[in-house]
Amino acid sequence: MPIRKVMKANEAAAWAAKLAKPKVIAAFPITPSTLVPEKISEFVADGELDAEFIKVESEHSAISACVGASAAGVRTFTATASQGLALMHEILFIAAGMRLPIVIAVGNRALSAPINIWNDWQDTISERDTGWLQFYAENNQEALDLILIAYKVAENEKVLLPAMVGFDAFILTHTVEPVEIPDQELVDEFLGEYEPKYAYLDPSRPITQGTLAFPAHYMEARYTVWEANENARKVIDEAFAEFEKRFGRKYQKIEEYRTDDAEIIFVTMGSLAGTVKEYVDHLREQGIKVGAAKMTVYRPFPIEEVRALAKKAKVIALLEKNITFSVGGALFQDFSRALINESEKPKIVDFILGLGGRDVTFRDLDEALAIAQKALNGEAVDEVNWIGLRKEIL
């Protein structure tokens, strides 16, 4: 029987790692995800997880150790956030290019400067071009589940890409909720053993990994990373379906909430989705036709699902805790790409909010709604809007 325990998302991530039985965990502490490796080191010390726990001197080394271990042919895990993830940056490309299915848990946190340890998504969003798969959890249960799903997808032969699972700093990492811990046996059946076909060390079968590629081969190698990302779309759907069958919890790349007759759909990710669903309920009581959609999968970007969503609304209001300079938020660019050649498309309005742990309140959402309603009425609005900005101190 699965057991239910009250825990933080950090612990949920550690439990997910324990259930996935990685052979090597390498980690360096960083706020807000320090508790993840701490908890795993307890599991290892208590003999509950049979793994090599490598204490490294930086995140750069943590991911490098994971690359080495994964290239040797075993399941690996690490956790980080913010500057720690940024310090991994160059190795993230290497992990994806070498097609190593490493899984990272990321406590989504703002980037310096100024130094800020609180939540936004700038850390993982900044790594969207590395080739890694990206999942975002709304709550602690999702943090656990998505890590298991991430392994399932990452290790699929058609994918073989590393994956990161983001959960909001403090809002989730340090807040307790009841989380169901699935049975080990069921997880074992779901994930199976990691048996790499190519990337493993065997002295009787010498290979070279991390090769040099001249111009004659580099482009093809990069294309295969692109192709693997494309393949991941279908594999993710299959993994979600299988997860639902075994564990009863349903996941979708884009989860819709009260969208059917909605004129305005708020799209967001992570824990903010919970707030937005509440807000939608609140507006619906007033007869305002709004819906919400949550991006569970951000890379590969679910283009088809976005197109289907866009058909349902007159205005898509993107609520983003990240900023991509000159063009707005990252979702704004991605949605633009998905919809640019559609014959009929909704207006897309972008909202930047909640950076660096700023609370997103109903009052902020009212501000966004007012702009979205203007757009709905055909009035001109700014494409990119900063919500809750304290203009008086600027």
């Binding site: 290019g97 190593l100 190519y198 990337a199 010498p206 290979i207 040099l212 001249f214 693997a228």
Partner: protein, 105 residues
């Protein structure tokens, strides 16, 4: 010019590598250094004067690639596919049998 003694190896590796890109661009058999022809980025190339050579093999020993092998009469032969033009051989040669000349393509 005498044929490279590694011709068969080179052909085997080249065939393997040109067939299919593996996930992660893994080289599934050893020998990727054979396929990656370092000679392509050379600016200067060694020019060999057989008459001056005393067959001391210093060039052969010092070549870092190693792009020098010996022919049937034990004279050095330069494999320009892999010679990267570093000039070590020319510097080591006691008789100036090797000089570096600018390569034109």
């Amino acid at each position: 010019m005498a044929e490279s003694p590694f011709k068969a190896d080179i052909e085997r590796v080249q065939k393997e590598y040109s067939e299919k890109m593996t996930p992660g661009a893994i080289a599934t058999i050893p020998g990727s250094s054979v396929v990656n022809k370092t000679g392509s980025w050379r600016v200067f190339m060694p020019e060999f004067n057989r008459d001056k050579c005393v067959r001391c093999y210093l060039c052969y020993i010092y070549c870092p690639e190693p792009a020098i092998y010996l022919d049937e009469e034990n004279y050095p032969v330069f494999d320009y596919d892999y010679c990267k033009g570093c000039g070590v051989c020319a510097n080591e040669c006691p008789t100036d049998a090797i000089i570096m000349v600018r390569e034109t393509k």
